[in-house]
Amino acid sequence: MTDASDRLTHDLFNGARSRRDMLKLLGIAGAAGLLGGPLLSGRAQAAAKHFTWGTNADYARPEFLAPFLKASGIEVQTSLFADPSEIITKLQSGGAGVELLTDGSYHAQITYDAGVLKPIDTSKLKNWSKLIPGFDKAAGMIYDGKTYGVPYAWGTDSMVYNHGIVGQDVDDLAILFDKEFAGRIAMPNGLFESVVVAALYLGIKTPFAMDKDQLDAVAEVLIKQKPLVRSYWNDIGDLKNLMATGEVAVCWGWQPLLEIRKYDVDVRWTHPKQGELAWYDAAFLTRDANAESEAACLAFIDYLLGEQYGAMIGKDIGYRTTSTAAIATMDGKLVDSLDLAKPDAFLKNAVWWTSPTNPAGYQAVWDKVLNA
């Protein structure tokens, strides 16, 4: 403990601190000063018969997990979050006990930088070869030549419009910034997405690695757009409501939005000429996993890429699987409705949505827009 403490003190005063080190230092100071040592040194013994998956409620519906328990005898416990950034913050502080994690391409770099991940030995995955070609080396999952994430669901974020109101086919992001639709535009609030959308609109080639001038240009466009925007949406339920009631005519949205077609709302997905954002949600192994739970997690990843899981999420919640094995079992209508027959064609205009190289700079732009 003293060694670590010395090192941290040294780091601290040499200006090379990470937040984790800072917390460690505080923790040591606190523990030493207040209690003279840890109260308890209990560490839960992770057994291979269960592990904890940090994910959101939809991916972990009980009916999606039941077949795995039945086949393998391994119980999947869950730690449910609303946004991956929450569980990353929790993992960073330690003791979270989450061994497997769902995170998106749009956030993976931040998670990797936070130092909470462990590489995955893909040779141990028997369904690795079932991935749709391209997903085995998609942007955001490989660092230092090692694979950290296994994509199991994917889609794009793009412009969606209500055809009945707009009255014509559109493929130009300009209408998101058009006075004609003042008060009937919705843009996303989370994950710097609006910043990236504005970059696409401006034709910036590196929307995730913008320099200062480009960020300034984006801020200007977004501030100019702000009076036209009805709402910066936070949850897809809000957006569904806005689009279904006709309150908003055109928005930047994501896939579950199309569910409202079931209720006779003529919303249409676009492949804008300026591009759209392709994402995947992947399973990541965390440093909380030990050898035993790692084996259980890998077995579960195989299940995610197997025949059953992908077909179930496609049918019940409208998510696209990355597994060719699952697609093979799905009926043709479902495959067509999810554009799973030719993913390449669907992704023609898309760029892989990765986390920005400089989150603080992106946040500063978004702050400026929100505070304007």
Binding site: L12, F13, G15, R17, R19, M22, L23, L26, G27, G30, L34, L35, D83, S85, E86, T89, I110, A114, G183, N189, G190, L191, F192, K226, V229, R230, S231, Y232, N234, D235, G237, D238, N241, T245, G246, E247, N358, P359, A360, G361, Y362, Q363, A364, W366, D367, K368, L370, N371, A372
Partner: protein, 297 residues
């Protein structure tokens, strides 16, 4: 000596719990707020974060002022709603059954968690919400009022909704303990109903008002739900900024500095609120009422 005066027995357990578990996070917060933010080249103790957030050009001081203003506005609204009701229930209604019924109806709504309580306002204020549907279908309006939802009015309506019961309960309790004989005496001495209320009831209920104000102000200051769910493009408040800095930008030093600022501002506002209410109570008539942390009588 009676037990309730022993500081160790009364204050000991709570303060010990705080010293064990609460000092560490707070110390960490302070230290983090003094360390350089992401991408900064400064050395450890630095005021850069504070300089950054106090810079008027960043818009943050304005957001902080707005945050405090909204919270104070909510306190005012909650008081306006709760004051007549508490008075009526405590002194106007003889039936404890009715008192219990009204208070219980209000309490029960809290079992519906804050998320749903907040989201439900979309169904009321939206373009196809309750109000607009009623107004347009009855022919009173041709077009729905867009400004009801997604903006500060909706945020304030929901924040008040989520917090006014605290004011109601404390005021009711405070007024119920006022001895009816005071009111009788006031009337016998020829005081009007108004004078009785302002010169007897209000000063005696002042501790309740003060505590209620804090109970409303404090959670309102630290909530992110209402501005996120109902604020549209104008939902920015200091708490949502803090959340973004901690979770999205992963800039904990800046987030910590913002938090420290909010804590200081919130603490000052609570102190000011208590002082103002004490003044108010005195102005209402009775001198020497003890409020806040004063030592009893």
């Amino acid at each position: 000596m009676r037990f309730s005066r022993y500081p160790l027995i009364t204050g000991g357990p709570w303060l010990l719990l705080l010293l064990t578990f609460f000092v560490l996070p707070i110390a960490g917060l302070l230290l983090l707020s003094l360390s350089p933010g992401n991408g900064s080249a400064a050395a450890f103790p630095t005021l850069d974060n504070y300089r950054g957030i106090l810079d008027l050009a960043s818009g943050r001081p304005q957001v902080l002022a707005r945050t405090l203003g909204v919270a104070l506005g909510v306190v005012l609204l909650a008081t306006l709603i709760a004051l007549p009701v508490a008075y009526y229930l405590a002194k106007g209604v003889r039936s404890t059954r009715l008192q219990a019924l009204v208070l219980m109806l209000v309490t029960v709504t809290f079992l519906v968690g804050p998320l749903i309580r907040t989201v439900s306002w979309r169904g009321i204020l939206g373009v196809k919400g309750l109000i607009n549907t009623a107004l347009t279908s009855s022919g009173l309006l041709d077009a729905p009022i867009m400004a009801l939802l997604y903006g500060r009015p909706a945020v304030i309506a929901a924040m008040t909704y989520n917090s006014f019961p605290f004011m109601l309960f404390t005021l009711f309790l405070a007024m119920r303990t006022i001895d009816d004989r005071y009111l009788v005496a006031a009337r016998d001495l020829g005081a009007s109903a108004n004078a009785t209320f302002w010169r007897i009831v209000m000063p005696l209920a002042a501790p309740g008002l003060c505590v209620g104000a804090v109970l409303v102000f404090v959670p309102t200051l630290s909530t992110v739900l209402e501005p996120e769910m109902l604020g549209g493009t104008s939902g920015r408040l200091t708490t949502t900024e803090i959340r973004d800095q901690f979770f999205h930008a992963l800039n904990w030093p800046l987030g910590s500095a913002l938090t420290v600022l909010l804590i200081v501002a919130g603490g000052l506002a609570v102190g000011l609120l208590a002082a103002l209410l004490a003044l108010f109570a005195r102005a209402c008539g009775r001198v020497g009422l003890s409020l806040g942390s004063g030592g009893g009588r």
